[in-house]
Symmetry: C2
Subunit: 347 residues, 2 copies
């Protein structure tokens, strides 16, 4: 028996998820560039590349450096805009010197201009982020042309993140938004004489809905493990969820309540509006993790018979990305240990 709390990943389900996403992308004629922020593991990044992924997506330059140092930094896209401070520029230079084919997100005229000046003979490829409806980062589509122009010779394409496709029933419309906004932007830039090589979209919920023309790359991340919010929004089946947090009942102080040792320091407090509680207990599907403290998960039984102190229960986390980022390693059902070698890597 392993000690709890611990993250366990079903290796067979994970491998099936990797293969299936690759098969769908290949059949649709788009490149698959998995987002490593979900697994934070160069080992699993390598697996995704071996299955046919053409490159990797990162959230930070330090994730990119970690991948490069682990030998999987051949083709990297850092898909979050950044400000080119000296330390960020030093990392970019490091990646270029290491031979990475490096793409970077920009959504700002000044940043695009600064990078164009910094790399006059070429360097990183700049991919302009366009807002397709999530209203997070990304320029309004009508403002993409000047940002693309400011990139100069570094301009490489456009991308979007249809984050508004996460709630139940929204994925198809958000995927269509991604395609429409990228097509409009591409046409506008091409009409001005630009060449738009990369046209990138797609998250785990929206990827299946945006693999049409002109999108030529998708960037899902969560699909490798799944989580409870992806079951709740219909993007993944419960049988395709590879990740569990195994927890032990440490207290059962009342007939309708018990406490697990998987607190917010392993489950995180992510709680999308369409799921109840802080994770799902497949062995007690009616029970709800009502309250989450750093090291306690307080569960209401809602009429189920409470487990005994010492019982181990499986919890499917609401959102897998922050969970993996809280552990230094996780277990596969094969018995192997996967180091989360990109854990942290915030900058």
């Amino acid at each position: 028996m392993f000690d709890t709390p611990v993250v366990v990943v079903d290796a067979a389900v994970m491998d099936r998820n990797i293969q299936r996403a690759q098969t769908v992308a290949t059949a649709a004629g788009v490149r698959l560039r998995p987002h490593v922020k979900t697994h934070k593991s160069s080992l699993l990044a390598q697996k995704q590349l071996e299955a046919g992924a053409t490159g990797l997506t990162c959230a930070t330059l330090s994730e990119a450096v970690g991948l490069s140092e682990a030998g999987v930094g051949g083709d990297l896209f850092v898909a979050v805009p950044f400000y080119p401070s000296p330390s960020k520029l030093a990392r970019i230079d490091l990646l270029l010197e290491a031979g990475s084919d490096l793409s970077l997100a920009v959504d700002n005229l000044s940043v695009a201009g600064l990078l164009a000046i910094r790399y006059p003979g070429g360097g990183p490829r700049l991919i302009v982020e366009v807002d397709s409806g999530s209203h997070r980062t990304g320029v309004d589509p009508v403002e993409a042309l000047p940002v693309a122009a400011a990139c100069g010779d570094l301009f490489g394409g456009v991308f979007t993140h249809g984050g508004h496709g996460y709630p139940p029933g929204m994925a198809a419309a958000a995927g269509a938004d991604e395609v429409r906004v990228l097509a409009e932007t591409k046409n506008r830039i091409e009409a001005a004489g630009g060449r738009v090589a990369v046209i990138s979209a797609g998250s785990t919920p929206t990827a299946a809905h945006c693999v049409g023309d002109p999108v030529n790359e998708v960037r899902p991340g969560t699909y490798i493990f799944g989580d409870w919010q992806q079951v709740g929004n219909g993007a993944m089946a419960l049988d395709d969820v590879a990740v569990s947090v195994m927890a032990t009942v440490i207290s059962a102080p009342a007939a309708d309540r018990f406490v697990l040792d998987c607190g917010a320091k392993i489950l995180s407090k992510d709680q999308p509006a369409w799921v109840e509680g802080y994770g799902h207990l497949p062995q007690m599907p009616g029970a709800v993790i009502e309250r989450l403290y750093d090291n306690h998960a307080v569960v209401s039984t809602h009429g189920d018979r409470p487990p005994m102190v010492g019982d181990q229960l499986r919890v499917i986390p609401n959102h897998v990305c922050p969970v993996i980022n809280l552990v230094d390693q996780f277990l596969l059902t094969t018995g192997d240990v996967v180091p989360v070698d990109l854990r942290g890597h915030l900058t």
Copy 2:
């Protein structure tokens, strides 16, 4: 300039917080046993001991082992109940062999009995957790006596956590609940012939309200750094908050919205009901971090002039404990780096 996002702690404010809590405890005649789950740092644990703390509180046995390995494991209390699996027992034995004066939380008859059988000649001191109103772990006060009896010779005292004292206006009443429940429990156990050496209570909001008789030990954690929820509930002044997450504006795509690079992977998604948003921006007190993604904090300006891309802003996190647990180290304003050597340590 440092790279962002990064956790920065004002060393002078932190030192003042350490001293003040010690002074208050000493003046009240109670022992201060700071909770290390806030800072996860053996270096700061050492500072707290040097200031007069009589021992340390941990949330997990692996935190206790980490403290012991760092040379500050002399007097440790693991204040979360656990199930004595072989791996937990191995850690207990390790700590005892290393010479720790070790106290462990129990709130269950079977666990107390198992430990009493496992350590017939003495070993860890067992401290029975009593529920004073937070309804998390802890036995109902009327059930404390049989659990204390099951501890046999290992029984060392009682403790409670008045977690219901966190919301604004609740600290005094919750502190009084802690005192009342512990006094009742102590009297009941003593009437049955038991000796109750340790009577432990008190969190950052309630510690000042429970230092009266019979409480002889308090266990606050957050007081060392402070955070926005402790300002919001009145437990700490804004000037006593030592912790900041320094972040950079990475996108300003609309007049009323900008995006910082401090996402949930550094701020965490903790959001108590009495604070708005996912952290406080002292330089823009009207602005609200409305949405938090893994690597993006989306801020509404609420009429303030938005900052420029590249600007650095200070964010006071809602809850400091999960923030520190997300980084491998943090900066002091002295320029020193503090390793978070107990980061993770979940089991």
